[in-house]
């Protein structure tokens, strides 16, 4: 009896320690964003919103925030659309070489973002395309497409195809079936794929850093701010980034786990 108690106590202890390890830096980041002093280190003085005020007076940062949102939403939408079309097309595989096609779509996940970014940077340079938010967006679609394709593919079931066939029998055209029958049936996974792609784009640094020049995204600005060392302003910016990503991921997770979970 005591042995079993010991085991469950140490299991609980490990779990708690792991969660502390995982959340410690986040908690400190958020806490010291409300620091009243000039350094985000103990002792904690405050709470104060002065660094948030400074943040929202920083126009370059606000521009970057809007750029990030724009790139995240647009690249998220494009990723989801391409991912859906690919998953849909391949599941009704009329394509000659589905294995190769799948491999091609998943392959970017096995390659570092840095290499994808370098490839695009060098290619754009050779071809003569200049760095821009569009280039960043293209890069983000490349890195997020495998994930969106995987999520959406995993949610296509045999039942969906039966319903497709029924729609055809009732006279729906191929396009009508896809747009009005299949897509709405999969809206949970489409939404989750969009949220995850948008979050990853919102957060992504290296591709954005390599492919942007004058208009930059928020992670790039934060990275530049880091050169000034530790300051509560970075904490405030970080807290903002963290809160927005967290919200997006939570929505995605809730959609995947609670909506479509029972549908499989």
């Amino acid at each position: 009896m005591t042995k079993r108690w010991l085991i469950s106590a140490s299991a609980t202890g490990y779990l708690v320690a792991a969660l502390v390890f995982i959340y410690l830096p986040v908690v400190i980041l958020v806490l010291f964003s409300f620091q009243d002093g000039t350094l985000p280190v103990p002792p904690f003085e405050g709470p104060s919103l002065r660094w948030y005020e400074k943040l929202f007076a920083n126009e370059r940062l606000l521009d970057a925030l809007l750029n990030s949102l724009l790139v995240a939403v647009v690249s998220g939408l494009v990723t989801t659309l391409l991912g859906f079309l690919a998953a849909y097309g391949l599941s009704r595989s009329t394509i000659a070489i589905p294995g190769v096609a799948r491999f091609l779509l998943i392959a970017p996940i096995t390659v570092s973002y840095l290499i994808i970014g370098m490839g695009l940077l060098i290619s754009f340079n050779v071809v003569g395309i200049s760095k821009s938010l569009l280039a960043v967006g293209i890069g983000h679609v490349v890195i997020n497409l495998p994930l969106a394709f995987a999520i959406i593919s995993s949610q296509i079931s045999a039942r969906h195809k039966t319903i497709d066939a029924a729609a055809h029998d009732l006279g729906a055209s191929d396009l009508q079936t896809m747009v009005f029958i299949s897509a709405p049936m999969m809206k949970a996974s489409l939404f989750a794929a969009f949220c995850l792609s948008a979050t990853l784009s919102w957060d992504e640094f290296i591709v954005a850093f390599l492919l942007s020049q004058f208009e930059v995204t928020l992670p790039v600005i934060i990275f530049e701010m880091l050169r000034a060392g530790l300051t509560p302003e970075v904490n405030a910016a970080g807290t903002l980034v963290f809160a927005i990503s967290m919200a997006l991921v939570l929505v995605a997770a809730a959609t995947l786990v609670f909506k479509s979970g029972g549908e499989r």
């Binding site: 469950s8 299991a11 609980t12 490990y14 779990l15 792991a18 969660l19 390890f21 995982i22 830096p25 400190i28 980041l29 280190v41 103990p42 391409l82 079309l85 690919a86 097309g89 391949l90 599941s91 009704r92 096609a101 799948r102 998943i106 392959a107 096995t110 570092s112 973002y113 840095l114 290499i115 370098m118 490839g119 695009l120 060098i122 290619s123 050779v126 890069g139 679609v141 490349v142 497409l145 394709f149 995987a150 995993s154 045999a158 191929d174 079936t177 979050t199 990853l200 290296i206 992670p219 934060i222 880091l226 530790l230 904490n235 980034v241 963290f242 967290m246 991921v249 997770a253 786990v257």
Partner: protein, 302 residues
């Protein structure tokens, strides 16, 4: 067993659909996959090929010239600091992967076997949630913990354990800690996904036949959870070895890792040929690891 870990577990759909319905209207299903394929070809495969080509070019007075020479590769291998950056990266990445597995495995095991089922999803979500968020900021947050006047040092000093701050930040150890923090979350997810797929009966049967709990773990649970470990470890390896930001923020300037060396080539001298050579060297290492892991990854079947 095959679909052990999302995002790779998606091989359930393709095979069973061989029948093609006669379709009216536009042949949508025939072209639906092509936009994504064209996109991947144009912005993933072609850029990679261009990068390979550029690695054989020369930079003459700041301009690229298609001269087709292996000089860049010779230069890479003759500059010891470049090769060293690659080896530093491999060391840091292997250390990170091993420590992350050691931290994550017990956590996944506890989640799968000691936590009541209705709590498992919530705690798992809690465990992996920060994985998806705030990449640049996360490394910075560790700086707040580790720096000379950060949380750890000020706590230790205030309770009188040390009088001088320990230099924890800006070291290889700090870089590894930042990585381990990140990948513990990922590995917990992939290992947990593997663990809950092992039928309870196997363990009960082994116990009934006289195996001790330790034997059950070593002979049943551990071998059957290897696919989850392999997928997680592979992703950890790929992301760690290609990551620029964590060593740049946490690692200090005593050594460079290969992503930092690549970025130096780009930012300092726009030396694209050399950056290409180094990216390809990185790619070769990753591909080698992929081939070593591929037996467990089943990525060819997704």
């Amino acid at each position: 067993m095959a679909n052990n870990a999302w995002p790779f577990g998606m091989n359930s759909t393709a095979a069973e659909i061989k029948e093609t319905t006669k379709l009216g209207g536009l042949p949508v299903t025939r072209w639906a996959a092509y936009p994504a394929l064209a996109f991947s070809l144009l912005f993933f495969v072609v850029p990679f090929l261009i990068m390979v080509a550029v690695s054989f070019w020369q930079r003459v007075y700041g301009r690229l010239e298609a001269t087709w020479t292996t000089a860049n590769y010779e230069k890479f291998f003759s500059k010891s600091y470049l090769v060293e950056a690659l080896f530093n990266s491999i060391e840091v990445t292997v250390t990170t992967t091993l420590i992350s597995i050691l931290v994550a495995y017990p956590l996944a095991y506890i989640l799968a076997h000691k936590v009541p089922p209705r709590w498992q999803r919530v705690i798992l979500l809690l465990t992996i949630l920060p994985f998806w968020t705030a990449y640049v900021v996360r490394s910075y947050s560790w700086l707040l913990v580790l720096s000379d006047n950060g949380i750890i040092n000020s706590t230790l000093i205030s309770i009188g354990l040390i009088s001088e701050p320990l230099h924890l930040a800006y070291t290889r150890g700090a870089t590894i800690l930042g990585f381990v923090h990140f990948f513990t979350m990922l590995l917990t997810l992939t290992i947990y996904a593997s663990l809950i797929q092992i039928p309870q009966n196997y363990r009960h049967a082994a116990a009934d036949l006289g195996a001790s709990p330790l034997q059950v773990f070593l002979r049943i649970t551990l071998p059957l959870s290897i696919p989850g470990v392999a997928v997680g470890a592979f992703l950890t390896f790929v992301i760690t070895i290609g990551d620029y930001i964590t060593p740049q923020i946490l690692g200090g300037n005593t050594e460079v890792l290969i992503p930092q060396a690549i970025m130096l080539q780009v930012s300092r001298s726009a030396n694209f040929p050399m950056a290409s050579v180094m990216s390809i060297a990185l790619m070769v290492v990753v591909t080698g690891v992929y081939l070593a892991f591929s037996r467990h990854l089943k990525m060819d079947r997704v």
